[in-house]
Amino acid sequence: MAKIDLEDIAHSYDPLAREPVYALRKAQLSWRNGGRYAILGPSGCGKTTMLNIMSGIVGPSEGRILFDDVDVTKTKTAERNIAQVFQFPVIYNTMTVGENLAFPLICRNVAKDVIARKVGEVAEALGLEKLLGRRAKSLTADQKQLISLGRGLVRDDVAAILMDEPLTVIDPDLKFRLRRKLKEINEYYNSTLIYVTHDQNEAMTFAEDIVVMDQGSVVQIGNPQELFERPSTTFVGYFIGAPAMNMFEVRVTGKNKVSFGEVEFATDTDLGTIKTANVKLGIRSEFIELSAAKVKNGLQVDIERVDDFGNYQLVSAHNGGQAIKVKVKRETPVPGDKAWLKFPEKRCCVYADEVLV
């Protein structure tokens, strides 16, 4: 269990080049002890680099890493006391499942009865208890990944468990159970869990705090609710939530009003500080109110299609060239061709130069 601090960390894979390309731009991050984090971002944003820097596989070209205020930047991976789970199963083919799970403990000379107990606990948690005697080579891909995961969990004294998209190969119903198991472990042992993913749904359901990254920079850190309701940049608004946040290019026309075409929307933000002309209004499809009848200060739209997703309907509409998506309940009747949309003040987010005001 340790508090991890990244001080002025930056990393370039070719630092001696004349113009180094940074995989990870200068960042300052603190991971509190026992926290449950997700690092979320698209491919190539630097999340795996950050994970590898924390585990020691990659040495940062700039900056320091501290575990409980002790500088570990130069310490080797084995000494940092980290467990890392990778995207693809990493197992020892010649050993049985039980031996695989026990391996990290055997390497640390833990007593045999303790090993047996821990292996049993972890195997039961992951549903592997019937397979302990089988050779690891003969299992399916998701069973192998469970072993990989189990090996990362069997040591309960680690500073942190770092996972790089570990549930990609797992079936959806097993994913639920595994997420729950990871949370239980996090609460029981108070070990820090850091989970890297590009799947915003996984990040939102798993983490207490999410670090959103794009192109090497940390864009926003916050809990799932904050990131969903108040994304700090248009990128976060796009990346979090399915579908992405609706974005409108608007003009500022008052202390807290913006206009889209002829329609004026009231927001709850003070827009006096905005100097740029690049102003956008963002609102989530879940929060837009749809009505068949004309509404004051509502945006008139033409309905393109309505998709039935079982639990809800997704209305795709447009106003001129602007596409808008609205989520409505299954029972709500959606008019065939035209509708009026109302944007609740509290739910409007205004962005100046892509950053939240």
Partner: protein, 359 residues
């Protein structure tokens, strides 16, 4: 019916990879094969393509038995999960390959390739090398190649599963537009997926596969409203439908010692006895005077909360339309919307559904 399968069966080393699969498909329609991993979707697609020969059963396309027809003479196109393109050819030649193979004349090749590239959003990419493209772009090239062929059957094996979440969302939209425009009248599109939401979004008929068998075939909303059995109910919902054992007796549903629900109107006429009841996660509502459950886990996603609870012998997942962090071991009061409850008999088959299906 233009593509008909009758009793396709394949057994390898004692395991059924295809178990008496039969279906009918029409030209100009999109079909989604929905099933978990290893359900037999890829095997079925490869059998239609001719790469795998079934032990028994027949496959007829336009009344012509495909039994003896080798792969290269079938009128098909396929897009794989793993971005398969010819590495030694550039984008244009990749898309043109099947047309050159069929000796289409150069002017027509040029036209069809450029149209296909345009419809997948790759205008201007003709000269590029495959290795220089990103994952999403490579998959688009693979799709363009399939479209340019104008094949009778277009097979897509989970084409988006190896792409980033957001890219997947974007391409799914684009696919829908492409499918409804270019290939509308003449081809059969078969798309395999594990995600029920994706199946719903694509909008075509859904064929539910599980353990090498066809469980149900029908329009998406029909599968949603009237799942033929408990397994279909599990596969076609995300999160899976809650299933509980219980009995119907003296005018109420008994789910356990202290859990009783009033009998909904659509259960009228059901003989009392043991049943399996099904309820979707979204039909579980937070209520003041409901049944008491203990929270096991709560997960927030966007504007909804997944709540995992336990009560008596039952475990549920509820999808609540609000954002709230419940603590483990907290007690919550939930009401189960009986108007939406399903009844399956003990063999798992649908007996009564809120939308009128069942016996």
């Amino acid at each position: 019916m233009d593509l008909v399968a009758k009793g396709l069966t394949l057994e390898i080393e004692g395991e059924n990879h295809l178990d008496d699969i039969s279906f009918g498909m029409r030209k100009g329609e999109l079909y989604t094969l929905l099933g978990r991993t290893l359900a037999g979707k890829t095997t079925l697609l490869k059998t239609i393509a001719g790469l795998i020969t079934p032990d028994s059963g027949r496959l007829l396309f336009e009344d012509c038995d495909l039994g003896g027809v080798p792969v290269w003479e079938r009128n098909i196109a396929m897009v794989y999960q793993q971005f398969i393109n010819y590495p030694h050819l550039n984008v244009f030649e990749n898309v043109a390959f099947p047309l050159r193979q069929r000796k289409v004349d150069p002017a027509a090749i040029n036209r069809r390739v450029m149209t296909a590239l345009s419809s997948v959003g790759l205008d201007g990419f003709e000269g590029r090398k495959i290795q220089a493209l990103s994952g999403g772009q490579q998959q688009r090239v693979a799709l363009a190649r399939s479209l340019a062929k104008e094949a009778g059957i277009l097979l897509l094996d989970e084409p988006l599963v190896n792409l980033d979440y957001k890219l997947r969302e974007q391409l799914r939209e684009e696919f829908r537009n492409i499918f409804s425009s270019t290939v509308a009248s003449d081809s059969i599109l078969i798309y395999s997926s594990t995600d029920p939401l994706e199946a719903m979004q694509l909008g075509g008929e859904v064929i539910v596969l599980d353990e090498a068998r066809v469980l149900q075939q029908g329009p998406g909303h029909e599968i949603f409203e009237n799942p033929a059995n408990t397994r279909v109910a599990e596969i076609s919902n995300d999160p899976a439908m809650n299933l509980m054992n219980g009995t119907i007796g003296d005018g109420s549903i008994q789910l356990g010692a202290d859990m009783a629900l009033p009998l909904p109107p659509h259960f009228k006429g059901l003989t009392p006895g043991d049943y399996i009841f099904g309820l979707r996660a979204s039909d579980v509502i937070l209520a003041d005077k409901g049944i008491s459950f203990t929270v096991e886990l709560s997960e927030i996603s966007g504007s909804e909360t997944y709540l995992h609870v336990a009560g008596g012998a039952h475990k549920f997942v509820g999808l609540l339309d609000m954002v709230r962090n419940f603590k483990a071991a907290e007690t919550v009061s939930l009401s189960l919307d009986v108007k939406k409850i399903y009844a399956f008999d003990m063999a798992g088959d649908l007996v009564s559904s809120p939308f009128g299906g069942g016996r």
